[in-house]
């Protein structure tokens, strides 16, 4: 089983701070997705990256896929309480099902 390790596991910050979440693996992925899950709901896709070195921006969120396609990062600028949730990375390998990371629980205090 291919493993995706996320760090940190928990993060509690004040509104307005910046943060970065990391997703690392020893395996190469054909694509990498980031999801956010809020309490009582299923995960919802934020972004998909497919090319090594690719950078995508979604408002205050910046996603990067590593050059070797083994790692990814999510950077949030000026975090807001609405960013609170569980962030999950998921790697695609060509088989039909994604492999998910262990998750990063983010709490943004007002």
């Amino acid at each position: 089983t291919q493993l995706l390790e996320q760090s940190p596991q928990f993060l509690s910050i004040q509104e307005g701070e910046n943060l970065t979440v990391y997703c690392n693996s020893s395996s190469v992925f054909s694509s990498l997705q980031w999801y956010r899950q809020e309490p009582g709901e299923g995960p919802v896709l934020l972004v998909t990256v497919v090319t090594g070195g690719e950078v995508k921006k979604l408002k205050r969120l910046t996603f990067q896929f590593g050059d070797a396609r083994k790692d990814s990062s999510l950077h949030i600028t000026a975090a807001q309480p609405g960013d609170t949730g569980l962030y999950l990375c998921a790697g695609g390998t060509g088989r039909r099902a994604l492999t998910f990371g262990s998750g990063t629980r983010l709490q943004v205090q007002p």
Partner: protein
């Protein structure tokens, strides 16, 4: 908008009971998945199905089985529930390489 509906939000069952978790999607997706979610472990794949009556084992299939008699419905079965199957269960569906669409989960407690 795709809707994935899981029949129960909360279930409490006794050890040894047979448990059925139901999932229905309304967008004609061919692929359906069952994951379980535990703190610090992320989502782990139990089973998935890429067509009616087709199924494949995921990473943790032991103690579970599945049924897909119709394209829109994918059932997860715990033949004899055990306490270590207490968890959040998430169903998802997708078509081709489109993103996963998840249901809101079923929180199962086995006592």
């Amino acid at each position: 908008d795709v809707k994935v509906t899981q029949s129960s939000r909360y279930l409490v069952k006794r050890t040894g009971e047979k448990v059925f978790l139901e999932c229905v999607q309304d967008m004609d997706h061919e692929n359906m998945f069952w994951y379980r979610q535990d703190p610090g472990l992320g989502l782990r794949l139990i089973y998935f199905s890429y067509d009616v009556k087709m199924k494949e084992k995921g990473d943790i299939p032991e103690g579970y089985s599945v049924s897909r008699e119709k394209k829109e419905r994918f059932s997860l079965i715990l033949e004899s529930a055990s306490t270590n199957q207490t968890s959040m269960y998430l169903c998802a569906s997708t078509k081709g390489t489109s993103p996963l669409h998840f249901g809101n989960g079923t929180r199962l407690t086995v006592t």
